[in-house]
Amino acid sequence: AQSVTQLDSQVPVFEEAPVELRCNYSSSVSVYLFWYVQYPNQGLQLLLKYLSGSTLVKGINGFEAEFNKSQTSFHLRKPSVHISDTAEYFCAVSWAGGATNKLIFGTGTLLAVQP
């Protein structure tokens, strides 16, 4: 069975500072990896995805993530955050080659950017 662990429930950071949100997954088969962002009272928006190829993936709003197969991790990073980045961030996996693209989500990390 697949599972996703987001170790930090909340990450406070000052504006213009770098940030890393951690995500580890557990799976006995190959997976696809995703990061979604959820702003207050809104649905989920895809930030970036890893399907195959280069392990460094760049997404929207200046975010990037690196897939590390040996560490089973997919940490999200941004070199300089803005107040507008304050939101809930979810890491998710789906089974590569599965019958569907069902997503399994972590519990989320609240990124709180302070001025």
């Binding site: 995703f34 649905g43 989920l44 995805k49 399907l51 569907t100 693209n101 997503l103 399994i104 989500f105």
Partner: protein
Amino acid sequence: DAGVTQSPTHLIKTRGQQVTLRCSPKSGHDTVSWYQQALGQGPQFIFQYYEEEERQRGNFPDRFSGHQFPNYSSELNVNALLLGDSALYLCASSPTGTASYEQYFGPGTRLTVT
């Protein structure tokens, strides 16, 4: 190009009642998935519909059922509501094809059961 739309935005129901939530997928998408997001949690997969049939189901009781129409829109029905069914219900759509694993999410329906 309209994205995924859901209705209603908010809903308040009483325990034991039944509720129907609606979803219209993004243009060009024919696969619809439903997720339940309890407060402070990540979304949990309920089921996925494709070609008007339930293709996969998560760990939810039979009180949760769905339907997909020929125009690819979908409904989620929940019977005999419990307090624990209070959550944000998210609909996601995607096109067919093994290369298209991205799901596009709607804004959700906030269900409160009292």
